[in-house]
Structure formats: structure tokens, C-alpha cells
């Protein structure tokens, strides 16, 4: 058996030589249509969240008890709700709470999930089994019950909703991170670090963590869509954002009851707003993931 040389796939893993990897990824993103479409839609909603009141034709809170449940018309493009408020203004200003709660909740879940995932993946053995049991136990608690109990004990505020959803996402994200860490810890650079006498926290957070970032990114965007869904479900229980806030979830929960009466517009536009926001986020995450894989 003479000198062995494992041929690297000729065109695939070519050194990117000159330009750094990050600019390369960024330039490719700007060219992919899905990313651009997603970015534009997200930008629109962020602008609405920040400058909402200025953009809205009417005040989202102004009630007009004579003009209730009016169908979309030139005066009110999206019609009026049960208290005669302009739905278009409420949809514009309504993006603020969701854009604050959903990302923060997902972020909390991702951070906690990553830490637990790292511990379980790196130490394995006893730690993995014990934490694993807690992770599975939490996974089995339905969102509605957990939300109910947490909100009733901690009182009700955006912060509490973020904590509830964040904690419920932690086990899901921990599972993904654990799987990635289990693969990564077998690589030689971890052994090399141990031989340098590095302590476990250094190895986990400085050596391994940067290498499991891609799966965390993917998990973050998937969970973001589910976070918005969770906010809606909690609002259905009356446990989330407080009326008279024009938040989409509050409107959908308040108005879904009148759909049988034919006032479809009081729910449709909020649902469309949520759908466009989530699709935009998932389009962007798909293209980022493709670009990272190169």
C-alpha cells in the first residue's frame, strides 16, 4: 500500500482563496430572489412597527359606535370592527407587539436550548440522561396548560409571555443542538483542546459552539414561525396581549366569533398579515442556509 491521498472532490470543496467567506455569502444572498422578497416584506412590517401611528390613516383606538362592522369601503379600506375602529390602522400599528414578543421569545428559547443542548451533547452519560428526562417531560406539557399556569402565577405582561414561549421552545431547540454537538465533539480539534488542558466550558463555548451555529440558525427561524402561532393560541385563552392593543392576535381572538355573521374582514387581514410575516422570515432563512452551505 503506497502513499495514500484521499482525492478531494475536484470542484466541490475548493478553497475560496481570495475573498473571505462572509462577503461571498453576502453577495450571493443579494442575488437570490427569495431573500430579497423576504427582506422587503419583513422591512415593511418593521417600518409599520416603528412608525405605525404616523402611517395609519386613523387612530387604531378611535371607536365609532355608529359605524360598527362596516365592510371594506373607500373610507375604511379594511372595513371596521365591532367597535367601529378602522381595521387598516389596527393592522398597521398591530405589528409592534408580535414583532417584539415572537423574536424575543424565540431568542430566549434558542439561548437556553443551546446551553442545555451543549451540556447534554458534550458531557453525555449521566448529565445527558438527567437533562434528557427533563427535556422530554417539558415537551409533553401542552402549550395551553403551561401558558395558563405560568400567566396565572406570574401575572400577565409581555415579559411573562416571552418567558412562557421561550421555556416551551427550549427543549425542542436543545434536542437539535445536542444532535449537532454529539457529532462535533468527536472531531480532533476537541481532543487537541483537551490535550492543551482546556476546561470544559472553554471547549463547549469557544471551540464547539461556533461550529454548531448553522443548525441553531435554522432552528431559530422555524421556531419563530411557531412562536407567532403560540402567541395566537395564548391570546385565544385571553392570556396574552391586552386589549385595546391593535395587536393582530388580540383582533383575531376578539373577532373570530363574528365570522359566522359574515364580518370576514375583521379576521382576514390580520391573518394575512401574520402569514406574510412568517413566510417572509422562512424565505430569508432558507436562502441564508443555502448560501452558508455554498
Amino acid at each position: 500500500m503506497s502513499i495514500v491521498d484521499i482525492p478531494v472532490e475536484d470542484a466541490g470543496a475548493l478553497q475560496a482563496g481570495r475573498s473571505g467567506v462572509r462577503q461571498e455569502v453576502f453577495r450571493q444572498l443579494l442575488r437570490s430572489p427569495t431573500f430579497i422578497v423576504g427582506a422587503i416584506v419583513l422591512a415593511i412590517w418593521i417600518i409599520c412597527a416603528i412608525f405605525g401611528p404616523a402611517l395609519a390613516p386613523h387612530s387604531p383606538y378611535a371607536q365609532n359606535l355608529e359605524g360598527i362592522n362596516k365592510a371594506p369601503s373607500s373610507a375604511h379600506l379594511f372595513g371596521t370592527d365591532q367597535l367601529g375602529r378602522d381595521m387598516l390602522s389596527r393592522v398597521i400599528v398591530g405589528s409592534r407587539d408580535i414583532l417584539i414578543i415572537a423574536p424575543l421569545a424565540t431568542l430566549l428559547g434558542t439561548v437556553l436550548g443551546t446551553v442545555i443542548g451543549l451540556l447534554m451533547g458534550y458531557f453525555r452519560g449521566f448529565v445527558d440522561d438527567v437533562l434528557g428526562r427533563f427535556v422530554e417531560a417539558f415537551l409533553a406539557i401542552p402549550l395551553i396548560v403551561a401558558g395558563m399556569i405560568a400567566l396565572s402565577t406570574l401575572g400577565r405582561s409581555n415579559l411573562v409571555i416571552i418567558i412562557v414561549i421561550g421555556l416551551l421552545f427550549t427543549p425542542l431547540i436543545a434536542r437539535t443542538v445536542r444532535a449537532a454537538v454529539l457529532l462535533e465533539r468527536e472531531l480532533d480539534y476537541v481532543a487537541a483542546a483537551r490535550l492543551r488542558g482546556e476546561r470544559a466550558p472553554y471547549i463547549m463555548f469557544v471551540e464547539i459552539l461556533p461550529n454548531v451555529f448553522a443548525p441553531i440558525m435554522v432552528e431559530f427561524t422555524v421556531r419563530l414561525a411557531y412562536a407567532i402561532f403560540a402567541v395566537l393560541t395564548l391570546t385565544y385563552l385571553g392570556l396574552a396581549v391586552q386589549p385595546p392593543s391593535p395587536d393582530w392576535a388580540v383582533d383575531i381572538q376578539a373577532n373570530y366569533g363574528v365570522v359566522p355573521a359574515g364580518y370576514w374582514w375583521e379576521v382576514l387581514f390580520d391573518a394575512l398579515a401574520i402569514a406574510t410575516l412568517v413566510v417572509a422570515i422562512s424565505l430569508m432563512s432558507d436562502s441564508v442556509q443555502k448560501a452558508l452551505e455554498g
Binding site: L83, L239, Q242, P243, P244, V258, P260
Partner: protein, 564 residues
């Protein structure tokens, strides 16, 4: 109204002093024909007698029912068929002692019957299991003569022993019965005494002019059951004297009833009734629209626009004492000053709220628990209307020239209350009062007791109150100094005395005078804002007739029928 005096004088002989007093009231026009019928029947005057008096006093117009639904349909009622009724899922086991929710009481009244029946449609206390009843001189002892020949659905005859056993259990504090809220301070087990096999006497703790109501269908727990019945097992038999008997009950799912062979009254027209339980109102309304049920027993205007505004459904509207109360902590700034409280009351656009939130099915209230439902209401007190400038003046006078707040208002997700909270918030803002809302689901909102209940502790708290035959409970519980639900922390000696007098007053005239005083006192103090009274609604498909709902969500189907 002096025509036909001779006929009237004939009828006056042999009447008690109280009865003559009512007849005078009618003759001098102090009381409407309707109220005369109601009060007269309450003190035991038979319907034939009352009818004759009315005839004697002039044209006996057909008793006007509340606006809307007709009572007897013209078409001849067809026999047979199964009536499908959608109802709210009973919140607990069907135990006559502890039932306290709408779903539960509807089940009780399907097979159980009361001594006396308060039917809104008939506007007078109807004899049911008691043929006649009469108070002693000062109204502290009430004697009831039972209807002979009544059998329970298992064939056993009903006697005084059963009635005595029933009311001893209902009024016994250790049974934690829901009826205690009516009997406390009125009736104790010792007070229930058998006179003979067909007569029962109630010796009250204190004279009470409204006692017949406390044993009527208004006190929905008071159905007569055989002696020594184990109440916790009642759900398996539904033993009662009513027109129907149990065919099957499945917790959380539904219940079926078939006619009771031994029924003493006219046999029901239907072959059977089938109740379907719904966890919330939305699916129930959809079921009616989707022709999955023929009737929905009790629903509120909130979210029911689909059937209220469409001609293809028969709606039966009953004035009821269902209402909302916005309490303000009288012991906490800024609400220690009555002028601030009055200011809040003056900001509210009550007619707008009734139109928008109840689609017109309700009447404005005037910040006190007297209203169209109760004849003893003093209607001469002027109705408050929205007056922003007055509100600002009051605030300025009270030392708050540029408004007050932010104040947190606690409330609950129940029917149209979240929307009402937002209307109050916006109207109050017009006068510079800024309110922040904190709305949770009912369980969290009710909490435990004082100190751990957003309902009772909130600086401002918007709560719902169900219908009651008499205003007694609304006068005592939320407003008297020792009231169990005094969220407003309203402690006013004169008010407490007035309420004691009211409860003790036997005749309508004195009750009305005292009511007037209470109304003016409450307007002056305004511890609680009462936005509006909500009508009790029942809906059915066009081919259903003969429904007999009561404002507290009972539904008597003796006369119900369903054409093909």
C-alpha cells in the same frame, strides 16, 4: 276608572287588608295592570280573582308580553318528534344542592318542579306544586297548601314530608348549598314545619315580603325531591315531579328526556327532548345555523349577530336582571371623593353601548340595582346621560383639574365584557380619566377571596351579574358594609338601614318609597356604575313553537312542539 264600582265592591269583600291595598293601588293608577297581577298573585290572590278584578276595572287588554316573541303560535301545535336543544355545558355535577351555573339549572328544571312558578311570560306567580299560599299578619310565617295527587316520576306520591325534607336540606349551612345565598338570615332548617300531609309552614327568621320568590323557580335549587334522597346520586335518576323524566345523561356530552307518565299536568306534545352541551357559545350558534339543533337555550347578544339580524330565526327576548357592575374602590384615592365617582358615571355613553354591544337587546341602567325587571323600582328618578363637561367640572371640583389616572381596571373575558371595557376606557378618556385594562379569563379574574382576587381587589373592576327574581341579593352582597362581594368597599350606615327596611317591607308602596331613597342615595354616592341591563335571549328555528323560557335560563318544554 270608577266604572263598575259595584262589581268591584263585591269582589272586595273577604279580601285581606293587604289585598285591598293592592286593589286601591290599581284603581288609583299607582300601579300598572301588569304589576298589579304580579304583586297580587305573589300574595296568594288566585288568577280567576285577579282576572275578575281587572275586568271590573275596565277593558281587560291582553296581557302584554315583553316586546318581540309571541307566546302562543296560531298554528295548531303538532304532536310528536324530538326537539334538539343546544345548551352550555353544565359546569359541575347535576346536584340540586350545589348547582350554580346556567347549564346546571337548565337540567334541574327539566324534571324538577317548584312550589311556585315565576314565568316571565305569564307575569304572575303560578301555582305549581303548591296550590295556594298565604302569609300571617306580619309576613313572618308563610303557609303553603300542596297540590293533591302529584306523583314523582317513579310513581311515589308527593307529600309534605318530601317538601319539608327538601327545604331542610336546602337551608342547612353544613350542606354548602347554593340556595344558602338566598336563605341566609331568612330560613333555617328548624323553620320548615309540616302542618299536615298536604300543608307546610315556613317560620322565617325575620318578616320577608318577597319570601314566595325564594321558594319559586327563581331559586333554581328549590326543586322538590322525595324525602331522604341522596343529592349526590340525584344525577343518575333526575327524580322529580315534572313533565319529563330522564332517558339518559352523559357528563359533558348531553342529556335526553322523555314524557313522565305520572305527570299531574297536561302531557307534553313532544316524543322526547335531546340536549347537546357546548363548551362555548360560538359552536352553539353555528350548530343552529347548520341545523344541528332546533333551539339554543340561553345566549347573549355578543357574537350572536349572525342570528339576531337574520329573519330566518325566532328570537324570544325576556327582560332580565342580567347586568354589569363597574365597581370603584371607595377606600382608595382618587375614588374616595364621590364627585370623582360621579364623574366616571357621567362619561359613559350608555345608549351607544347598548346599541353596539347588545345590538339593542338591553335597556340602559341608572347606577343602581333597580330596573325594568323589578316592579318596586321608583321610575321617577331621572336617568343619567353622558355629560362630559359635567364630568370635567366634578373632577375640577374634586381637585383634579387635568384628569386622573392611569388607573388599572380588572375584568374578565366573558361575553361582551372586553368590548364594554374598551368603550368605558375610551369614554372616560374624553374627560381626562386614563384607564389601563387588565383582562384575564374568568378563573383568574375571580381568584380566591379578598386579598387574592382581581375582581374584589381591583381599583376599578368590571364584573358580570346573573339574573335574580328580586333585587335583594344585588342590594346586599356588593353594597352593604358586610356584603360578601363588596368590591367597591362601600360602607354607608344609612344605606345599610334602608336595605334592611326594604327587605322587610311587605307591600309594594313602602318598597317603592324605600327604593326611591336608595336610588337617590346611590346616585349621590355612585360607588358602582351600572351601564345596562341585558335581555335574556332564546332562539329557535321557525318550525318550533310553545317554548317557555325564564330569564334565569330555565326552559320549560311542557308546551313545546316541532312541526315537520
Amino acid at each position: 276608572m270608577s266604572r263598575g264600582n259595584s262589581e268591584l265592591d263585591r269582589l272586595r269583600e273577604g279580601r285581606t287588608e293587604l289585598e285591598n291595598h293592592y286593589i286601591d293601588e290599581l284603581v288609583f293608577g299607582n300601579v300598572s295592570r301588569r304589576d298589579f297581577l304580579r304583586r297580587g298573585s305573589m300574595i296568594g290572590m288566585s288568577s280567576t280573582l285577579l282576572g275578575a278584578i281587572l275586568a271590573a276595572c275596565g277593558s281587560s287588554s291582553k296581557t302584554t308580553s315583553a316586546a318581540g316573541g309571541t307566546t302562543t303560535s296560531s298554528a295548531p301545535a303538532t304532536k310528536g318528534g324530538t326537539l334538539r336543544i343546544g345548551a352550555v355545558t353544565p359546569a359541575a355535577a347535576i346536584n340540586p344542592l350545589t348547582v350554580s351555573d346556567a347549564g346546571g339549572l337548565l337540567m334541574l328544571n327539566q324534571t324538577g318542579e317548584f312550589l311556585v312558578f315565576d314565568s316571565n311570560l305569564k307575569l304572575q306567580l303560578q301555582p305549581m306544586l303548591a296550590l295556594s299560599w298565604s302569609p300571617n299578619a306580619d309576613g313572618s310565617i308563610w303557609t303553603f297548601k300542596l297540590r293533591p295527587g302529584v306523583k314523582f316520576s317513579n310513581g311515589a306520591a308527593m307529600t309534605a314530608d318530601d317538601v319539608v325534607y327538601t327545604f331542610k336540606q336546602l337551608s342547612d349551612p353544613k350542606n354548602a348549598s347554593n340556595a344558602l345565598s338566598a336563605f341566609v338570615g331568612v330560613l333555617t332548617p328548624a323553620g320548615v314545619q309540616k302542618v299536615d300531609s298536604m300543608t307546610v309552614a315556613f317560620h322565617l327568621e325575620a318578616p320577608n315580603g318577597n319570601f314566595p320568590y325564594l321558594v319559586s323557580s327563581d331559586n333554581y335549587n328549590a326543586i322538590i325531591v322525595p324525602a331522604n334522597t341522596d343529592f349526590t346520586k340525584w344525577q343518575t335518576t333526575f327524580i322529580g315531579t315534572g313533565a319529563f323524566k330522564l332517558a339518559g345523561y352523559t357528563t359533558n356530552v348531553g342529556a335526553n328526556f322523555v314524557p313522565n307518565v305520572n305527570y299531574w299536568g297536561t302531557k307534553p306534545l313532544l316524543d322526547s327532548t335531546s340536549f347537546k352541551f357546548y363548551a362555548s357559545q360560538a359552536p352553539m350558534i353555528l350548530a343552529l345555523q347548520g341545523n344541528d339543533v332546533d333551539v339554543i337555550a340561553q345566549f347573549t347578544p355578543a357574537g350572536a349577530a349572525a342570528i339576531l339580524n337574520s329573519p330566518s330565526y325566532k328570537i324570544i327576548k325576556l327582560p332580565s336582571a342580567n347586568h354589569r357592575e363597574l365597581s370603584m374602590r371607595n377606600d382608595q384615592a382618587p375614588f374616595t371623593d364621590p364627585r370623582v365617582r360621579q364623574a366616571v358615571a357621567y362619561t359613559l355613553d350608555r345608549p351607544g353601548a347598548v346599541a353596539a354591544l347588545l345590538s339593542g337587546d338591553g335597556t340602559v341602567a341608572n347606577d343602581y340595582p333597580f330596573g325594568p325587571r323589578y316592579p318596586s323600582t321608583d321610575t321617577s328618578v331621572p336617568q343619567r346621560t353622558q355629560n362630559i363637561s359635567m364630568a370635567k367640572q366634578l373632577l375640577a371640583a374634586a381637585g383634579h383639574p387635568n384628569g386622573i389616572g392611569p388607573i388599572t381596571m380588572n375584568s374578565e373575558i366573558y361575553q361582551e365584557i372586553p368590548q364594554l371595557a374598551q368603550v368605558i376606557q375610551q369614554d372616560a378618556a374624553k374627560a381626562g380619566i386614563t384607564i389601563k385594562l387588565s383582562i384575564t379569563n374568568q378563573t383568574l379574574y375571580y381568584g380566591k377571596t379578598f386579598g387574592s382576587s382581581p375582581w374584589l381587589d381591583g381599583t376599578m373592576s368590571l364584573v358580570d351579574y346573573g339574573d335574580r327574581g328580586a333585587p335583594n341579593v344585588y342590594l346586599t352582597a356588593p353594597l352593604t358594609s358586610a356584603g360578601t362581594w363588596n368590591a367597591a368597599r362601600f360602607h354607608n350606615k344609612t344605606y345599610d338601614n334602608l336595605v334592611k327596611q326594604y327587605v322587610a317591607a311587605l307591600d309594594l308602596q313602602t318598597q317603592k318609597q324605600i327604593a326611591g331613597k336608595i336610588e337617590n342615595l346611590l346616585l349621590q354616592e355612585t360607588p358602582i356604575v351600572y351601564p345596562y341591563w341585558i335581555d335574556g335571549l332564546t332562539a329557535s328555528t321557525p318550525n318550533v313553537s310553545g317554548l317557555n323560557p325564564t330569564s334565569i335560563a330555565q326552559l320549560y318544554l311542557n308546551t313545546a312542539s316541532k312541526s315537520a
